[in-house]
């Protein structure tokens, strides 16, 4: 309904340009009608102004984009962040975490190089800040602004934009390096299907209890996250570049609006996955966080969560312990 109103009101404004109404009193002159149609189709003329897009009279596009952002995308990104946190906290309350059965062995197995750990954080820290600031840009006016004074809100949204702009750059490097360098370990295998059926052995009740489906260097859940991140990371970087450097890429106004929507949709997906990823690494999987701190994992963690990988490195002699 609202979008119809917006469309109507814009149409009304267009009438005020004086083209259409010029002929309402008498029979229409076809030349005027034709020009009016061309104007609505974005006809360009001549102007002395150097302003952006100033030679075009009217730019038309699908006005439903505003409703899409306010009624769907903005609540969705709130749900993807805060909703997912609530869901996960409840899940852990009911289900409990995945403990190491044999406790910690104290023997630390080499899993990631120092370089791998650094590119992970090169992407991850900006990603977190981009999520928080992006959420403020998309949903802040609906969810935060009503509760803040104008001055506080202005400060918050200004900071959000600045942080978002600057964090985008390291994020893109992190995304590119991770996507390219880690893809070989993330290829889907047959045993991934079984891992999915058992939800990775993380469910602590019913038929799932105590199960440990096979997993290689990465399990099926991690692979799903990796490819989601690779794909939507690409969309988010590409659309973000259009929005960040319009002077370089010169996107049309309509393309910029499309980029904005694609950017938000990808952001919602990446946000929801990031919350799951962070919960898995820090709380759910005991001993998991160590991998991205030192690059080493406990031997018991390796055999419990990545048995095929551990067997493989033991066999081919690449297994190294921390000295």
């Amino acid at each position: 309904m609202k979008n119809i109103l917006i469309a109507l009101s814009v149409a009304l404004n267009l009438l005020f340009c004086g083209f259409a109404m010029a002929n309402t009193a008498e029979e229409p002159s076809s030349a005027n009608e034709l020009m009016w149609t061309q104007v609505k189709d974005g006809a360009q003329g001549v102007t002395t102004s150097k302003g952006q897009a100033h030679n075009q009279l009217i730019n038309t596009y699908d006005m439903r984009v505003f409703q899409l952002r306010s009624d769907l995308l903005a609540p969705a990104i709130m749900a993807a962040l805060f909703g997912m946190i609530i869901v996960f906290v409840l899940f852990i309350k009911v289900n409990g975490i995945s403990k190491l059965h044999g406790g910690f062995s104290g023997k630390m197995v080499h899993r990631w190089s120092k370089f791998d750990v650094s590119i992970h954080w090169l992407g991850a820290i900006p990603c977190l800040l981009l999520i928080l600031t992006g959420l403020t840009l998309l949903a802040g006016r609906f969810f935060f602004h009503p509760y803040l004074s104008e001055g506080l809100w202005a400060g918050l949204i200004n900071a959000a934009k600045l942080v978002h702009d600057y964090m985008a750059i390291p994020f893109m490097f992190g995304w590119l390096l991770m996507t390219v360098l880690w893809a070989k370990n993330q290829m889907p295998k047959m045993y991934d299907i079984k891992w999915m059926l058992y939800v990775g052995g993380y469910i602590n009740f019913g038929p799932f209890k105590g199960k440990h489906p096979d997993a290689g260097f990465a399990n099926a859940g991690e692979k799903l996250w990796f490819w989601t991140f690779a794909l939507f990371g690409l969309v988010i970087c590409a659309s973000g570049m259009l929005l960040l450097f319009p002077n370089v890429f010169e996107p049309s106004r309509t393309l910029s609006l499309i980029a904005l929507v694609l950017h938000s949709v990808s952001a919602i997906i990446i946000t929801a996955f990031s919350i799951v990823h962070i919960f898995m690494a820090t709380v759910m999987s005991e001993g998991g966080m160590e991998c991205m701190v030192s690059g080493y994992c406990d031997e018991n963690w390796a055999t419990q969560h990545h048995n095929l990988w551990f067997d493989e490195i033991k066999q081919n002699g690449t297994l190294t312990y921390k000295k």
Partner: protein, 189 residues
Amino acid sequence: MATMKFLCDTKRCIECNGCVTACKNENDSALEWGIQRRRVVTLKDGEPGEASISVACMHCTDAPCMAVCPTDCFYRTEDGIVLHNKDTCIGCGYCFYACPFGAPQFPQKSTFGGRGKMDKCTFCAGGPEEDHSEAERLKYGSNRIAEGKLPMCAELCATKSLLAGDAGVVSNIYRERVASRGSNKAIWG
């Protein structure tokens, strides 16, 4: 309350750019170098059927710029004029993408670090600052509405092609003109 609108009679506009100059002069204090709030566009320049039209912000009833702004810094006055708060604006450019008329303009071209504060036609109605304050003059330009006057561009239009005022009044003037034109193909109305 009135609902303020602009109307440009293309049969009268002679592309003299008087409105552009009037606006520039009236709002000079607020306009950064290179920014122009009003422009005249000529279609079919030099061909039969040439027509010129003066455009600035149309003060839309359900304004797209207002709907898209992530900072929610637009507001509508009781006269239906669409204004914005430059202190809250982050220069993201969303309103420029959304505006059908290309009204929002920026001092810088890239969004990286901000394009600077968005500027557009205020219908000579200033901004959120106190009426006729120095802050209002420097950020938004003149405030003729508070003095009971209409925008300078329309007031100075030599052919009275550009009309500004309450939508009902303005469109009545226009309708009378069209009705009394000898033929709708006539150039001078």
